[in-house]
């Protein structure tokens, strides 16, 4: 089985972020970049599926600047077989990214993505690639089994879990809880330096989604005591529903 994993390099979720002088991008100075955490579930799934099958090939693909090669090496250190770096800058337009990736992802039995990137929150590139390649797609899976050319997956839906099947080739996007991504071993890190990493220019169409501004969210307000005892419960529930919008 040939498995591809799409990986994005994103700012560490713990970083403090500032808006750049242009007003439409994040200031990258001093920001630590990491593999997108949801993509790590996809990387682990690819390695585990190949281990279970005892054969196959796993390829990690990224679209990004030269610095993204470091992220690819970390995936190779986890255990992926080879890497492809599509050299170029990403886009706020998920369809443009999907178009740039799709050609590279044709011919695989399984294409894995994280369910979303923690920087742009788009949740879109995986299903868009599936559509462009004419493949079935199962999004946000928390359980994945592949056997005999069939995918069985569980996806979290509001208030439940749904079990979905489809035939290979397919695209699957990975949710938290799917697995525990392994840490690279020292041997893996050494081996990664010798694994093939192809570099190609990316062909990213012009973005049809324009970022016109970034803003910092309003400051968090101080906590508020609604009341005490059982009498305060209805008011609290009302505020959680109408003001905090968490119910």
């Amino acid at each position: 089985m040939k498995i591809a994993v799409c990986l994005k390099r994103v700012p560490d979720t713990g970083s403090k972020l500032a808006i750049a002088a242009d007003g439409t991008s994040v200031d990258e100075a001093g920001v630590k970049f990491v593999p997108n955490p949801y993509d790590e579930f996809a990387l682990e799934a690819a390695i585990a599926l190949k281990e279970a099958a005892g054969a196959g090939e796993t390829v990690v693909v990224t679209l990004g600047p030269d610095a993204a090669q470091e992220t690819l090496r970390s995936a190779l250190a986890m255990g992926l077989d080879r890497a492809v770096h599509l050299q170029g800058s990403g886009s706020a337009d998920a369809l443009a990214v999907a178009q740039a990736l799709a050609a590279e992802l044709a011919g695989f039995d399984l294409v894995l993505f994280g369910k979303m990137a923690v920087d742009d929150y788009n949740h879109a590139t995986g299903p868009m690639v599936a559509e462009l390649l004419g493949l079935p797609c199962i999004t946000a899976v928390s359980m994945l089994e592949v056997s005999g050319g069939t995918v069985v997956a569980e996806r979290e839906i509001e208030g439940g879990v749904e079990t979905v099947t489809c035939a290979l080739p397919a695209v699957v996007t990975c949710e938290k809880g799917l697995n525990t991504p392994r840490l690279p071993s020292l041997k893996g890190i050494m081996a990664a330096k010798k694994k093939p990493l192809d570099v190609k220019p990316a062909s990213v169409p012009a973005a049809a989604v324009a970022v016109t501004g970034l803003a910092l969210p309003p400051e968090r307000q101080a906590g508020r005591i609604v009341g005490e005892g059982p009498d305060a419960v209805p008011a609290l529930i009302e505020l959680l529903r109408t003001e905090a919008k968490v119910l």
């Binding site: 079935p136 999004t139 996806r155 509001e158 970034l214």
Partner: protein, 180 residues
């Protein structure tokens, strides 16, 4: 302006997020002609409430394949209707996040995803969306029609419009039993 709202149900009971999408549509353009689409295996309990929450028409597309999650069928139905509309709104739900990108890719249209606020700026749809785990609010613009967006559940509050909509039923001819 014509707006299509992709309403949702679970086992043929309307999901509340459908009303929120109608509120988002009315906030975009109070005078818009708003249609709500439901794809289901049969009647949906609560479908009539869509009219009272801002839908001018409820389009009920029935097919046995919609008895369970069916992104292929839903993508086909929405993609066939979408070109008639200026704006198509999905919830940023398990279903909406699954189907909206596929519809957008099929129509080669951009997607404004996970919006918490929408506005029209001339012909362009502007969406405010939390990014970087909510540490930054990004404003994006998509030009052209149809403008496709997903709206975060809870971002808009359902508004009662105090009128009834009409429910139009049509059976899907397309075989859409394939799952997903």
């Amino acid at each position: 302006m014509r707006i299509l709202v992709i309403a949702e149900h679970r086992e043929q009971a309307l999901r509340g997020v459908s009303h929120e999408l109608l509120a988002a549509a009315r906030a975009l353009d109070a005078g818009a002609s708003v249609d709500a689409l439901l794809c289901a295996p049969g009647p949906v309990a609560g479908a009539e409430s869509l009219g009272a929450h801002g839908a001018d028409r409820v389009l009920l597309a029935t097919h046995a394949g919609f008895a369970r999650s069916n992104p292929d069928g839903l993508t086909a139905v929405v993609a066939s209707l979408a070109p008639q509309y200026a704006v198509v709104l999905f919830a940023a739900s398990a279903t909406g996040r699954d189907v909206a990108p596929r519809v957008a890719a099929r129509l080669r249209r951009p997607l404004a995803s996970d919006a918490t606020s929408l506005a029209m700026a001339g012909d362009a749809l502007t969406a405010v969306r939390p990014v970087h785990a909510g540490k930054i609010l990004q404003t994006v613009t998509v030009a052209g029609v149809p403008a496709i967006a997903t709206v975060r559940p809870g971002a808009y509050q359902a508004v009662s419009a105090g009128k009834a909509g009409t429910v139009e039923r049509s059976r899907c001819r397309r075989s859409s039993s394939g799952s997903p």
